[in-house]
Amino acid sequence: MLRHDLPQDVVVEILSRLPVKSLMRFNCVHKSWYALMRSHHFITKHHKFATSNNLGRGVVFKYRTSKGHLCVSLLSNDTLEVSRDVDLLSLFPDKIDGLHCIYGPYNGIFFLQGLYKGENVEDLVLWNPATRESKVLPEIKRSRRYDSGKKFCFKFGFGIDPNTNDYKVLRIVDFYGRQQLQFEVYNLCTDSWRVIDSSLSKLYNIYSPSFPSYLNGFHHWKAAEICMKARRKGKLFPEHGPTRLFIVSFDMSNEVFLETPLPTVPRAAGFIGQNIAVINDSVSLIVGYCDTRNLDINWFDIWVMSSEIGVERTWTKKFKVEGSGLAFGDRLLEIREDGLVLLHKNDGSLAVYDRKTQELRKFAKYGNQFYESVAVTYTETLAFMNGGRNLSE
């Protein structure tokens, strides 16, 4: 069919415009194509093209059926219909019946933490939904500090170190306020964990993220300050009283923390809760309200944190999500560009609400929004986590 051979850079232009499914199949076309798809340059070019042209987008949707059964599905970004259900058994080495958190995506890669019978298990997985590749993280060698019989739990953060472009996972060991938090970092390039020295200036209760929380080299968490008051026999007990909330941010490159107070949000008229989320390239705080006199009136205030380097971080109330489209019991899943909001309605249907026109579009029903459901939009990527297989010479 070809009269002249297409130059290599033109072939690259064509291939970088293909969806990941096609590229995975075309791995078999030629060794040079197999190698091309594992080159950092091509992976970046392909992802950049998809991102700027709104291609290869999907939604990872975690929800529970009315009977409480866990489901994770990939939905089409446009129709919110299921493209395929994710078989969690194929991702995790052990049986899990819950996903504690979905971290990410960063450039189309997710970090998942499995739960079994409500307990944290050591099953941590890096996952690329587009290539269907997953990588189980190695077990963390328990250090003797943890085996002192103290109770603890884990929180995580996920993103990349912008200086090395390496994927990193931060593990926070939380001793429920009895002692300072401890930290370990996993690097994909070394496929190993190491303890880091970093510390925080206060004792905190760190909240696991409810929304994507990584941006530009930093991962963020909502944290409540624990004030310890000395009691008798020298034992410290946490003080009761209004908790001061902070945003704790981990610098993935320098492996240090920043701590900034959250804004004092109005609480009088039916405050429900607040969560940190990265929305449209800003670190934001979503504050939910429900009018106590009229449960049909629900709204969210969105605050945005300033992000200039070297300047003190401050919060500004940016906009409100309100209107008849929001009902009592609705779960806010995602705030998208162009003023669109993704909701899991109180009747179980997914809906897109346009906060500018106040138009509400309902889609298919998925389980029960009463259980915590999570939806995250991602753009497909080719990134391989297992280093690509070496073909025999």
Binding site: L2, I14, L18, C28, V29, L391
Partner: protein
């Protein structure tokens, strides 16, 4: 000037202080045949016209351009696409190159390995059994592929 290679030619001319009128200068384009060149010129003119008509409205420009591009694709044979790509690449005509690459990508995205090899003039260079291993590993990506 969209045909960057040609623009370069004019720039070089000006630098050499040749004062012949632009309309009478003949620019040699040895690597482009007349048929693809004609299509590219039409594409370029159309693009500029649509842009002028919808001066401030970027969305309208995009929409009209898309409609024109769909019509154009119906008239162009798949084999011609590669010639158009080569021409656009040589002339350094970025918008047309992007469009035709997208068109080829769209045409091959659901095709089989064999089709794609034929299209690009490639032959398998995998060892015995390697290709089969890959086909097994990525079996899911073979679902829904067009018949050859």
């Amino acid at each position: 000037m969209k045909f960057c290679a040609v623009k370069q030619y004019f720039d070089d001319e000006n630098n050499n202080n040749i004062t012949s009128g632009a309309s009478t200068t003949m620019i040699p384009l040895p690597n482009v045949e007349s048929h693809p060149l004609a299509i590219l010129i039409t594409y370029c003119k159309k693009h500029l016209k649509i842009k002028a008509n919808n001066a401030d409205n970027k969305k309208e420009t995009e929409k009209e351009m898309e409609q024109y591009e769909q019509e154009l694709l119906k008239k162009v044979m798949p084999q011609e696409l590669t010639e158009l790509i080569l021409a656009a690449n040589y002339l350094n005509f970025k918008e047309a190159l992007d469009f035709f690459c997208r068109a080829v990508a769209s045409a091959i995205q659901n095709k089989s390995i064999e089709f794609v090899r034929k299209f690009f003039g490639l032959e398998s260079d995998f060892e015995l059994g390697e290709e089969e291993k890959l086909r097994e590993e990525f079996a899911w990506s073979f679902e829904g592929v067009d018949e050859d």
